[in-house]
Amino acid sequence: MFIPRLKSLAIGALALCVAVPAMAQQVTLAHDKAFWDPGWTATAAEAGFTPTAYPTDQFVGFIQSSVAAGTQPGLFTWWTGRALDDLAASGGIAPVDEIWDKAIADGQFPEGLRALFSVDGKAYALPVNVARWVVLYNKDTFAKNGLSEPKTWEEFEAAMATLKAAGITPINATVQDGWRGFIWFQELMLRTNPDAYNALHSGELAYDSPEVKAAFDIWTDWASKGYFSDPRSTTEAPDFAGGNAAMYLMGEWVIGGLKEAGMDVDNNLGVFLMPNRDPAMASTLIVEGGPLVLSAKATEADRAAFEYWATEKAANTWAKSMQLFNGNLNVAPPNPVFGEVTAAMSEKDTVAYQRWWEAVPTEIRGDLVAELSSFVLNPTADQAAQAMANMQALNADYWANR
């Protein structure tokens, strides 16, 4: 008879679930970056916190509701830009200026990095990730085609033409997972008109203005020449690692993934800063910051674990685990690429710009990036015009009803 069997099963399983171990008082670091697991494990072993991974969507909801209830975890990762503004305004996190003062005095972080993690001049976070958005390239492919790192816009376009003529896709770019559509838009805006790029984010410049159209024109032109890879691939990083395209514009955090996908990142991966269209323009670069924040209700133990992230030790452990870089000045570069980027930036006195993703109002971000992705999938002049019109409609509506 099955009923008694069911009953005993039910009782057994109930016993199992009641036996969930009671949590001891501990320092929790909540994050949505499970793909950095080796890094979290290595640093946790040193600083004595418990890393807890959440899927991104639930993570945001969890933080928002726990801040409202005053039960937020002691430490958690967040995003810079408008997301950090909102979080700081909620009063759920503590200002950490004195930790920055000390770290800068000790020569751990450059003063210039502080602004990225601040709201209205007050620092609210420490960096766990600082990723410069650079052009990574396949050294073998470049060498075989007699190419060197392009220093100017013309050289960059010539390199793409050479590669294309040799049957190699010049640039790896997809719409995988729906968020990547902004990458080349952001880069082309920055390379043609950085002031216009910033003005987009404050609502001062329309998305259908001539400045934006200029960027779209270049984008459309390159796409029509077949310079971009199939945007429908859902294996973007492995494609590049496997040699499917010669160049890949992405944050430095992707290097760990390239290595995982089998690329020899120590020897075969080169890097350069994307040149400006006008050589007279100042050197600029997109810098993405991954902030770690401290709860406004942090305990002493929470604070100690937080301060660990301002040390060289943390930076080195983090870097060694899986080629992660947190902007620390004393860290041994986890990969030659990081050192090269740092050197190039200080040589050219490069100014850091915020990523479009963090700078744009979160309320319309999803809809804007959908328009950009639609263009990536169908890069025609018509689609560009439609994307600009649709984006401006969303943008105008947002700034009018704020």
């Binding site: 909801g61 979080l87 809809d367 950009l372 639609s374």
Partner: protein
Amino acid sequence: MGDRSMSDSELGALDAERLGSADVRQRRRNALTGALFAAPALLFVTSFLLYPVAMNVWYSFTAWRKFEGLGEWAGLANYQRLATNPNFEAAAINTGIWVIASLVLPVALALALAVLLNGARFSDTAKTLFFLPRVLAPTAAGVIWYYVYAPNGVLNGFLSLFVGPVDRGWLFEDSTITPAIIVAFVWQTVGLPMVLLLIGLAAIPRDPIEAAQIDGATPGQVFLHVTLPLLLPTILVVVIISVLAGFTAFDHIWVMAQSFPGKRRLSLTVLMYYEAFTNNAWAFASAIAVVLGGIVLAVTWLQAVLQERVDRMLK
């Protein structure tokens, strides 16, 4: 769990058979024992299902988004926003397409299969085969079909055999993505309506059919004039199950439209999830859920009315 929403046409009828002569004490004891037996189920349902529904309705009238506005009365603002939201109309239209498609496709296909398989040899095996996809998780089915539709996938490869190289991204184009996902959905869900219709067919008495055959009716006439009317109650159940499944489809879209830019426009359920968990417009998302719930309630009510009509018609 499309079968969750089946209703019972005899809800009231049972109450009528109350024992007239039982003494009051016995009745009180009955009520107490009966209610006690029902208590755990009631407790679970009210606290985990009905309470959240009530809360959801309440949220939809607040200004809750991101970190603020929980408990702050906003009146009908969220419902008014539905009209101006750039995605609501498209999502509602797509949900409409889902409903129409799931009204027609699974029912017609299931009916055809049921008629073909009724009494046929191997019908048991065939039944099992058609039902098998339903046991798969929608996510697993979505993943399989994702690669069927990929630019270098099975479908393009198959079409290339006939018309030369095909390089369509079926899940990347506005015009093909919804039909493509619906096909995968029908593939997975047609088993249940088919089995229900087979059960219905088996229950139809042989006499009228044989009588009609003896009268010289063609198989088509027999089907149209005898079998179909007798099958009407079952068809109604199947239609309602399919329509409600179409309204609430989520998993297949979620998995298969992973990289599609206009994902949130693909259905009201996806838009609701997006507004809640990506945009953190909690109150607005609750309003979408309430609209969805209202429609489903209306359909369920319509089904109850129709069922009663059909039952009366057949009697």
